[in-house]
């Protein structure tokens, strides 16, 4: 009697749990839908938006192909063609290739890690809105004939000087993309912390799904690759808006600095695009080979190795700039070396297929197409990595062919494979096998017809970025063939779009785990639930659905952690970085319009600056700061109603953590690493000029001297010490002392900033006159802006302390601000050393 009774009780309990979870994770209805921050919704918006940008850029590519179909064509004007090719490259790279990685990761990573959401859902939503606004702004410019036309690489001085490029084109490119880079870095921080801290209990690093490894590597690369571009953007925009001569040789500048900064970003970018797609392949292949991947540690090492090597290759975009043979040799070797980890990844896949019994399917079809196409791109990559051959191939259609083979084979085909593979998780139904096959063959054939002849037309002397070409050079036929192929390829893409959009109401739901895969994301019920995961499972193997008996049943019955939401709060689990030991039950925030408002205001800052509406820019800046403060005040470091909670299976976890075990501390740390990279890129610029000029500072030019920089350093050090002491005294319970230290630190930070500005200002350094004063001012402004932010942070902590939201126990705010100040102190030290000491060495 009692057994059935217990069974009924358990059934009741489970129903209750599911009801509460449903209620907590419910998606708001009506207009409030747009306040959603949930990864399942935001990730889908993100993915759909980046696909829309891809289609837009694809149409631009077709326009270019129509123009080049026949020689001496006048379908497009030279100026419009230049806008078309510039936007085609820019949109494909910045608005499709990178965001699609972040978008897909936001959708599937939490599921793959058995987490209910990423640790900072509101940050994801903020990033999405930034991406949407910036992307529409940059893309929309072409409808007003105002799009940038300097190429996606924007080489100065062509683009920096008004006499060569009048209008707003380059400003739209720079400011619009800087805005989107904010979104990219936000997503990178989110994904790194998510991977490191939100894995399920027991999932040690070496049990992580390969996709998570790639996310970690790629997000880390974004963190180090995007900041140099941001630094370059700052220099570029200062030259364009205020005539500071960073790239103007007449006043000591050098256009090569931009090329270095751009390609230090631009080459890792290629791998940032390529690796996540390979990560999808690494999830798809084991499923269809019906066995675990062979060579797990090999492929992880290869991915990490590719990430590292990719930062040592940038000069191969600059082989023709007249570098000494020794650099050419070094960078040729480094560029060839990256083929080795790439080879390892390809052979890991082949080995797994060899050892498995392969099931045919549309995703596998696209994976094999990807392999065939990508290997051609890789082999031509080996060719152009060799400096002498590159002197011929560089900036010709050979490179156009090479890069499309790499990107379409290495990225688009795998992403389409991923779409067909993961669609059942998103749309609850499978996409059509028949349409998928037709699309595949159209794409494969169309692609090769379009791009293979470009190898030839390039070597036959057709440079890139030409809006027309003369007849009689043998270029007519290959170009016509390419255009025909481009349209066949586009037809394939259209079929996929149709397959995704066509109504599927009368089609049955896919079975749960429809491909019989082994990883956690396939636990998802059909149709999916907004709670993400029913409970947070315990992981012991790499393919738990295959290798842990009874796993799915235990999961469905809620026999793991966090099966309930007793307090009606959104919760997920935080574990330790290496071993996945449970650390905290994290309360994650729910829907809000704050993220959208903050993104709109920040967008206004960039857009107003583009059109030089300075007063409006300033107002928007103030409003952005206020909106972010409101968002933080109301939504972060919330003090829970109790210290600990029972998460199930007899485990009790704290609801609040500060310091290195908390997700917020890690996010601050990672953000500051990226921020520091941007700063070091600016310092690199300073020393770049130091090395190319015989006298730097120029003889007789005013310098900031030593006195004021040292005064500033002392004050900054004082603020740093105050922040650190405030943390310690607050923790010790001396709240009054801590408040005094916070207030004092704020004052010292502001005074330090003022002293630093006074150094060049008092000495009369004019940034327009020469690159030396300009670089000094850039370092000073960067440091002062950071000091001001640091002061604001300390003042915020003070206010939180008075409001009772920052206490000796609940001290995330001051923990993170103290961490910020460690970086700030280093920034101040390096700036003072650079501007104060280097004149002594000269």
């Amino acid at each position: 009697m009692s057994a059935t009774h217990d069974g009924r009780d358990a059934e009741e309990l489970r129903k209750g749990q599911e009801e509460r979870l449903n209620k907590v994770w419910e998606t708001p209805k009506g207009w409030r839908y747009w306040s959603v921050v949930n990864n399942t919704e935001v990730g889908i918006w993100y993915t759909a938006t980046s696909f829309a940008f891809m289609l837009f850029a694809g149409v631009l590519g077709l326009l270019a192909r129509v123009q080049l179909a026949v020689p001496e064509n006048d379908f497009l004007t030279a100026s419009f063609y230049n806008q078309v090719y510039t936007l085609h490259g820019t949109v494909m790279m910045f608005l499709f290739a990178v965001p699609i990685f972040e978008a897909v990761a936001i959708v599937i990573l939490p599921q793959m890690l058995g987490a209910r959401d990423l640790p900072f859902p509101r940050l994801s939503a903020f990033g999405y809105w930034c991406f949407l606004i910036g992307g529409v702004f940059v893309s929309g410019s072409i409808f007003f004939g105002a799009a940038p036309e300097g190429g996606w690489f924007m080489y100065p001085p062509l683009t920096t000087q008004e006499r060569f490029t009048p209008g707003y084109g380059p400003d739209i490119w720079l400011l619009g993309l800087s805005f989107i880079e904010v979104a990219s870095i936000a997503a990178a921080v989110e994904l790194i912390v998510g991977t490191l801290k939100c894995r399920p209990p027991g999932m040690r690093l070496n049990l992580m799904p390969l996709y998570a490894w790639y996310v970690l590597v790629v997000a880390g690369m974004i963190l180090f690759a995007f900041p140099p571009l941001i630094a370059g953007d700052i220099l570029f925009e200062l030259e364009r808006l205020f005539n500071w001569p960073f790239f103007d040789p007449e006043r000591g500048g050098d256009p090569m600095l931009w090329q270095h900064l751009f390609w230090i970003f631009g080459h890792p970018e290629v791998y940032i695009v390529f690796l996540p797609a390979i990560a999808l392949v690494a999830m798809i292949i084991p499923t269809f080979a019906q066995r675990p991947l062979i060579g797990y540690s090999w492929i992880v090492l290869a991915a990490v190795g590719t990430g590292f090597l990719s930062f040592g290759l940038w000069v191969h975009h600059m082989y023709a700039t007249g570098l000494p043979s020794i650099s050419l040799g070094f960078f040729s070797a480094a560029s060839e070396a990256v083929a080795i980890p790439t080879g390892v990844q390809v052979f890991v896949f082949i080995a797994t297929l060899l050892a498995g019994r392969v099931v045919n399917s549309v995703p596998m079809l696209f994976v094999s197409g990807a392999l065939a196409v990508f290997v051609i791109g890789g082999l031509t990559g080996v060719m152009v990595a060799l400096a002498p051959f590159d002197w011929q191939a560089h900036d010709t259609y050979f490179i156009v062919a090479h890069l499309h083979y790499v990107l379409i084979g290495g990225m688009l085909f795998p992403v389409v494979a991923g779409v067909y593979y993961y669609w059942p998780l998103v749309g609850s139904r499978r996409l059509s096998d028949r349409l998928g096959k037709i699309a595949f063959w159209l794409m494969l054939i169309g692609f090769n017809v379009a791009f293979f002849p470009m190898h030839l037309s390039g070597l036959m002397g057709m440079p890139r970025r030409v809006w027309t070409y003369p007849t009689g050079l043998g270029l007519d036929l290959p170009n016509l063939i390419s255009t025909v192929g481009a349209f066949i390829f586009a037809a394939g893409i259209l079929i996929i779009v149709f397959d995704i959009l066509r109504p599927k109401g009368n089609q049955p739901y896919a079975e749960r785990n429809t491909w019989n895969a082994g990883t956690l994301e396939w636990l998802s019920e059909v149709p999916g639930k907004s709670w993400g995961v029913r409970c947070v499972p315990i992981i012991k193997t790499r393919y738990p659905l295959w290798e842990q008996p009874g796993f799915m049943e235990d999961y469905d019955k809620g026999r793991f952690y966090l099966a309930d939401a007793e307090e009606l709060q959104r919760e997920t689990m935080v574990t330790s970085v290496l071993d996945g030991e449970p650390v905290q039950c994290l309360r994650v925030p729910g829907p809000t319009f704050m993220t959208m408002i903050a993104a709109i205001l920040l967008g206004a800052v960039f857009i107003f600056a583009t059109f030089h509406w300075w007063e409006a820019t300033l107002v928007a800046m103030v409003l952005t700061t206020i909106s972010i403060l409101v968002w933080l005040w109301r939504g972060t470091s919330l003090i829970p109603e109790k210290a600990e909670k029972d998460v199930g299976l007899g485990l009790s976890l704290p609801l609040y953590k500060s310091g290195p075990q908390s997700v917020g501390w890690w996010a601050m740390f990672i953000t500051m690493v990226g921020d520091g990279t941007a700063f070091l890129s600016l310092v690199f610029g300073y020393f770049f000029f130091f090395t190319i000029h015989e006298d730097f500072p120029p003889t007789g030019a005013p310098t900031p001297g030593l006195l004021w920089p040292l005064v500033s350093l002392a004050l900054t050090a004082g603020a740093w010490a105050a922040a650190w002491a405030a943390l310690k005294t607050n923790k010790a319970g001396n709240v009054a002392v801590a408040r005094v230290l916070m207030a004092g630190g704020t004052g010292l930070a502001l005074a330090g900033g003022a002293a630093l500005v006074w150094a060049p200002y008092g000495a009369g350094l004019d940034p327009v006159s020469h690159v030396y004063p300009a670089t000094v001012w850039v370092l000073v402004i960067w440091t002062v802006a950071h000091a001001a932010v640091g002061a604001l942070m300390l003042a915020y902590c003070l206010a939180r302390s008075f409001a009772g939201r920052l206490t000796p126990v609940y001290d995330i705010d001051i923990e993170n601000v103290a961490l910020y100040w460690h970086f700030m102190a280093a920034t101040g030290l390096i700036t003072v050393a650079a501007i104060g000491l280097s004149p002594l060495a000269a």
């Binding site: 040789p249 062979i294 060579g295 040729s332 080996v382 011929q392 070597l459 002397g461």
Partner: protein, 347 residues
């Protein structure tokens, strides 16, 4: 190889042919061989371009074999039933196919490819010519001397010309490259790889033609609207002919007075152009002292004849969108004809 019918100096038979090796490889690849032309790397008429073409053919052969192997293996892997110890075989495949094989092959390729570089950078033994890439044409000065200063950028002096470079066959001619405005790139595919022309810097490239002929050069770095139409001609001739040409270029213009000169000066053309022997001494645009002797007009764009000269003066921006020279369509037809006639006599 195409030969421009308007060339006043038909190229003589090849003086010496080291292009034999490349031709032998090319013969084996008939498709590629048919891709040669005045602007093609497959023409390989210079020592550097010939050597690089050879490098390409070897890499192409290697790449084809590797691709076929990888794809064949993948197809086999998809279709085969797994062997009993397939996991062990798989790991071996990763080690040998993914690690050892590429490391060895790439090391060999790198050694072989880089070993060629000192040869490309051997010192010159011929004349020294300065070429400045300017939006959207090429300023040329023969026989310059002295170390170049920082640009405006290239050495001053020498015999000035534009959009056409004559060089002696069989000699290594050093070309100094600079730019006063934006980055351009100097590329003559049939002779050598490309080198950028960067404001504030001076780069060098050595051209060593093995076969006499006329070769097309193009700008290979995007430099603005007329980037696609910024071409030049390189005319490789025997040494004696080269010397005679430079001497001829050093002479003042053939006709220095008359209605043409008056119309030229009267309509302000001299603000930008120089015609030595007349008061016209502008330095913004190309030197026109011997404009009629050149193969092309508008920087490699049009055949050089009276009709095209007239069209270029009248509708410059239509013929070459983005060009810096304003169109002079507002002038009376008669003035344009007189100017074009006179320029047509400046051989």
């Amino acid at each position: 190889m195409l030969h421009d019918p308007t060339d006043p100096h038909p190229p003589p038979e090849p003086t010496r042919s080291r292009a034999g090796a490349a031709k032998a490889v090319a013969a084996a690849l008939p498709v590629l061989a048919s891709c040669s032309g005045p602007q093609s790397t497959f023409t390989a008429a210079g020592s550097e371009s010939e050597s690089i073409l050879h490098l390409f053919y070897v890499m192409l052969a290697g790449a084809s074999v590797i691709w076929l192997f990888v794809i064949g293996l993948s197809l086999y892997a998809v279709r085969s039933t797994p062997a009993r110890d397939s996991a062990r075989i798989g790991v071996r495949l990763i080690v040998w196919g993914g690690c050892v094989f590429p490391t060895v092959v790439l090391a060999l390729l790198l050694y072989w490819g880089l070993e060629k570089m000192p040869g490309y950078r051997r010192p010159a033994d011929g004349p020294r010519i300065a070429v400045s890439g300017e939006r959207f044409w090429w300023r040329v000065a023969y026989d310059v001397e002295g170390e170049p200063g920082i640009v405006k950028s290239l050495p001053t002096g020498g015999v000035e010309s534009a959009n056409e470079i004559w060089i002696p066959v069989g000699r290594r001619t050093e070309i100094l490259l600079g730019s006063p405005d934006v980055i351009h790139s100097f590329w003559v595919p049939a002779l050598a790889g490309k080198t950028d022309m960067i404001p504030g810097r001076v780069n060098r490239i050595v051209l060593e033609p093995l076969v006499a002929g006329v070769y097309n050069g193009v700008c290979a770095e995007f430099c603005g609207d007329a980037h696609a139409q910024m071409g030049l001609r390189v005319v490789a001739v025997p040494e004696a002919e080269y010397a005679a040409h430079v001497a001829a270029m050093a002479e003042p213009a053939a006709v220095v007075s008359g209605r043409g000169v008056d119309a030229f000066l009267g309509n302000g053309c001299a603000a930008c152009h120089t015609v030595r022997g007349t008061p016209a001494a502008g330095s913004v645009g190309p030197d026109l002292t011997h404009v009629a002797s050149r193969l092309t007009l508008g920087a490699g764009l049009l055949e050089n004849n009276r009709e095209n000269l007239t069209a270029f003066i009248r509708a410059t921006d239509h013929v070459k969108p983005g060009v810096q020279m304003p169109a002079f369509g507002m002038l009376p037809d008669d003035d344009i004809a007189v100017i074009a006639n006179w320029l047509g006599e400046l051989r």
